[in-house]
């Protein structure tokens, strides 16, 4: 057969198979499931391209699973349908048919591109920050093609209709378990989950090493294709050419793997640690209404969203504290992440940890509100973040610590029975538009147990979680990452319920009472009862700590508080301020 004729036949067959693949219900289902998965990741988070590009890959993994199965079914069709004898009687050789199946994998590209395009549209509509990495985005597409090629290779030996399913499950297992792999091995997985990208102010070269990963996926695609062709090509010189190409592909794959296993350059990590320890070093600051806003360069579009709640609280204050207010973005960085710090010298790691712990960002501050990258979401969570900023501004105004940065979870102070707590919450609710139901959702459920309690000087109270409250995340390997900000003050249910009762009064009346004795209300000795009396309202009913007892939990007869005696960490009383 003349090569031109063989190629023409291969292309026509490939077009036929590609159209089948495009219309394949499995592939369509994979695309929809992949799209839903991507949506679940990018919709609530901050639209950071350097993180979202990898999250788009999560959906590509799901699509790749379906393409693997569909490609295996298509390539194994002749054997499965007892058509081998007939196919063998045709002038078109098996190698051409396999080549056609491989070319037909282009039919999976539209589904992959739909995922990329749809995700990009969502990100852009939400004010995407940064720019997409071509290597990461292309990597997702190549992953889908690689899975299809693997399916075709599998079909040459296993034509059973279920043969693709275990391979697809292996793919998803490699993906979901990649976080458990030690060091840089995680990057060798077909796709991976870089845990900290969402908290970094920009892409970090080598975390993950995207170009090398793209090369690895391309190498795997070539190897799978060559494996498939090896079983179909009989002529020795063609097999020699395939073996040569396979050796080349294996070399590329191995080289790409070796590059991915290399540690991230110490200089890059050193720079990142410096940024995390002293965020002011990498910021662009602007001042508005005497408040400084310091954001990373790519994040300037977020400024209006941060200014709005601050300005709204400031407009309701009768007086501002003497010390200024700074709203500053900070990096959430954990050096416990083995994928980030593998193969770094222990001494260097210790130095970085010490630098992080002693950095200005972790020094107590009464005048800085830290907003961690990745937490200033647009969309539904924006209101929560704005409430957090408004509340922190009100706390700053009332002498409460606005928030604190900590490399490890610590117990913040509690403004137990302090009127300023309710006033801060009331100011934040007036300045923002968080639905009342969401505020009420911060009250613990009756059976939530000791974790919803705070204890100050032997007195226990029920805590209240406000919308947008900073929280850590724990990776599958157990390292803590994410938002190292802890609330400056752990608020109580009593404070929230008093603030809620205040919202039922005319705002002008409350403002009048506050304006009349602002200095008194800022004083930490001023109690909730005094505020309620000044407003002419009864004290609201507050759930007792005993209501939080989990069923069957032991009781502490000494103070009548539910829970075991050592299950509640004691917290200090908030005594900063007048």
């Amino acid at each position: 057969m003349k090569p031109a004729r063989g190629l023409r036949v291969a292309l026509i067959l490939a077009r036929f198979e590609a159209l089948l693949l495009i219309r394949n219900l499995l592939v369509l289902a994979g695309m929809l499931a992949g799209g839903a998965l991507i949506w679940s990741y990018i919709q609530p988070g901050e639209p950071l391209w350097w993180n979202a590009a990898w999250q788009i890959g999560y959906g590509q993994v799901v699509l790749a699973m379906s393409v693997l199965i569909a490609a295996q079914l298509a390539a194994g069709r002749a054997r499965r349908d007892a058509m081998t004898d007939l196919y063998d009687s045709f002038p078109v050789p098996a190698g051409t048919r396999v080549t056609a199946h491989l070319i037909a994998l282009a039919g999976a590209a539209p589904a992959s591109l739909v995922l990329i395009g749809g995700s990009a549209a969502v990100l852009v509509s939400r004010g995407a920050i940064g720019a997409p990495s071509a290597a990461v985005v292309a990597g997702g597409l190549v992953l889908v093609i690689a899975a299809g090629a693997a399916g075709i290779a599998l079909a040459q030996r296993f034509a059973h209709p279920l043969a693709g399913a275990p391979a697809a499950l292996a793919l998803i297992a490699l993906f979901t378990q990649s976080g458990q792999f030690p060091g840089g091995l995680a990057w060798l997985s077909p796709w991976t989950v870089p845990a900290q990208l969402q908290f970094l102010p920009g892409p970090l070269a080598g975390y993950p090493p995207a170009p090398a990963h793209l090369a690895e996926l391309a190498g795997i695609t070539a190897l799978a294709g060559i494996t498939a062709l090896m079983t179909a090509v009989a002529r020795p010189w063609r097999r020699i050419r395939l073996v040569t190409a396979g050796a080349l592909a294996a070399a590329v794959t191995c080289a790409a793997g070796a590059i991915q296993l290399a540690p991230i350059p110490a200089a890059d990590l050193n720079h990142l640690v410096g940024e995390a320890a002293d965020p002011s070093s990498a910021k662009q600051c602007t001042t508005a209404s005497t408040v400084r806003y310091c954001l990373y360069p790519d994040f300037s579009p977020l400024l209006p969203a941060l200014r709005a709640p601050v300005s709204a609280v400031l407009a309701r204050l009768p007086a501002r504290p003497a010390h200024g207010l700074t709203v500053m973005q900070a990096t959430g960085l954990s050096l416990q992440d083995p994928a980030l710090t593998h193969d770094q010298a222990a001494a260097r790691l210790a130095t970085w940890n010490a630098r992080l712990a002693s950095g200005p960002v972790f020094a107590p501050s009464a005048s800085t509100i830290y907003v961690t990258v990745g937490t200033t979401s647009s969309g539904p969570r924006l209101a929560d973040t704005q409430f957090y900023v408004a509340l922190a501004t009100a706390e700053w105004a009332l002498g409460l610590p606005p928030n604190a940065r900590s490399p490890s979870p610590e117990s913040p102070c509690v403004p137990l029975d302090q009127a300023r707590e309710a006033i801060a919450i009331w100011l934040a609710t007036q300045a923002t538009h968080v639905p009342a139901a969401e505020l009420a959702a911060g009250l613990p459920a009756p059976d939530s147990g000791p974790k919803s309690l705070v204890e100050v000087g032997g007195t226990r109270a029920v805590a209240w979680d406000f919308p947008g409250m900073p929280s850590y995340k724990v990776s599958p390997e157990g390292f803590v990452f994410g938002d190292p900000t802890s609330p400056g003050a752990r608020l109580t249910a009593a404070g929230y319920l008093l603030a809620k009762a205040m919202t039922s009064l005319p705002a002008a009346k409350v403002t009048g009472v506050l304006d009349g004795a602002w200095g008194t209300w800022r004083n930490w000795h001023t109690t909730d009862a005094r505020l309620a009396a000044a407003l002419g309202m009864p004290m609201p009913s507050v759930p007792a700590p005993t209501d939080m007892a989990p069923p069957g939990s032991p009781r502490d007869p000494g103070n009548g508080v539910s829970g075991t005696a050592d299950s509640v960490e004691p917290s200090p009383l908030c005594t900063i301020g007048p």
Partner: protein
């Protein structure tokens, strides 16, 4: 190259094929020319093995085959044979989720019909020849067994093959469809070389110019259907009683017993034998050539 009258299209010499301890073919010699050749034989006689070897799909352990003077053992010549071949294997599974037209279009590509217009015309032609036009848009899984068999024949006809090898083409066809198959094979455009295996001697008698009887992997008879029938001359008779010495006996609609055997009794009424008689007699004799 077209096959001219009198040209030998297929020549097989000493073909042998073994599957483990089973000898499927034993030194089969065969010469096929233009027209229809029927390969008769019981199950396990080696018909499918012989046809798969002729279709270049199976490889003989010994012997040599030439198709249109080309050697199937040579890769390039094998491809050339396949370009001129139409083949219907005995058990074809079909891609059941394909439509009839899509399947034929796909096979047409595999037969290197790369021009789209020609492919469309060719698919329409074979659909018409096999009376499947009205089913073109139907999925194969919805077709009956007979319809699928016609589809199998349709795919074999794609490209107007010079050599048509049909393994049990009448299997699954109802009486009318069998007659239509005979009509189709008898009026094949281009007058190709046709080799068909069958269990049905009357199909052979109806359409075949030549017949090969395969028994236990051996070609026990090669000749015309009339010659096969003639081998039973004097060996078929009717009587009012059943004759225990006959190889086969059955009572006909006229209530008389028809016997096939080697020893007609005195006074029995001998009858003109059929191809079926010749085949039956042959299958009960050690060798008739």
């Amino acid at each position: 190259m077209t096959v001219n009258a009198g040209t030998v299209a297929v020549r097989a010499e000493g073909l042998s094929r073994r599957y483990g301890s089973v000898r499927a073919l034993r030194e089969v010699d065969l010469t096929l020319g233009r027209g229809i050749t029927g390969v008769l034989g019981p199950n396990g006689a080696g018909k499918t093995t012989l046809l798969s070897v002729l279709a270049t799909v199976g490889k003989p352990d010994a012997g040599r085959v030439r198709v249109f003077g080309l050697d199937p053992g040579d890769r390039a010549e094998r491809v050339e044979i396949r370009r001129r071949l139409g083949y219907l294997p005995q058990e074809l599974g079909y891609h059941r989720h394909f439509t009839v037209a899509a399947f034929l279009d796909y096979v047409a590509v595999l037969k290197e019909i790369t021009d789209r217009r020609r492919r469309t015309e060719e698919v329409a032609r074979v659909l018409a020849v096999t009376s499947l036009e009205h089913l073109a848009g139907k999925r194969i899984r919805t077709l009956s067994g007979g319809m699928r068999q016609r589809l199998g024949i349709a795919q074999a006809l794609l490209g107007g093959p010079e050599l048509l090898i049909l393994d049990e083409p009448a299997a699954g066809l109802d009486p009318e469809q069998r007659l239509r198959l005979r009509e189709l094979l008898s009026n094949m455009p281009g007058d190709p070389v046709i080799v068909m295996s069958t269990h049905q001697p009357d199909d052979v008698a109806a359409v075949c110019q030549r017949v090969v009887v395969l028994l236990h992997g051996q070609a026990r008879f090669t000749g015309t259907p009339a010659e096969l029938a003639a081998t039973a001359t004097g060996h078929v008779w009717t009587a009012g009683q059943r004759d225990q010495r006959a190889h086969l006996s059955w009572r006909g609609a006229d209530n008389r017993w028809r016997h096939t055997g080697d020893h007609p009794p005195t006074g029995a009424e001998t009858v003109v034998p059929t191809v079926e008689d010749g085949y039956l007699l042959l299958s009960h004799r050690p060798s008739v050539r």
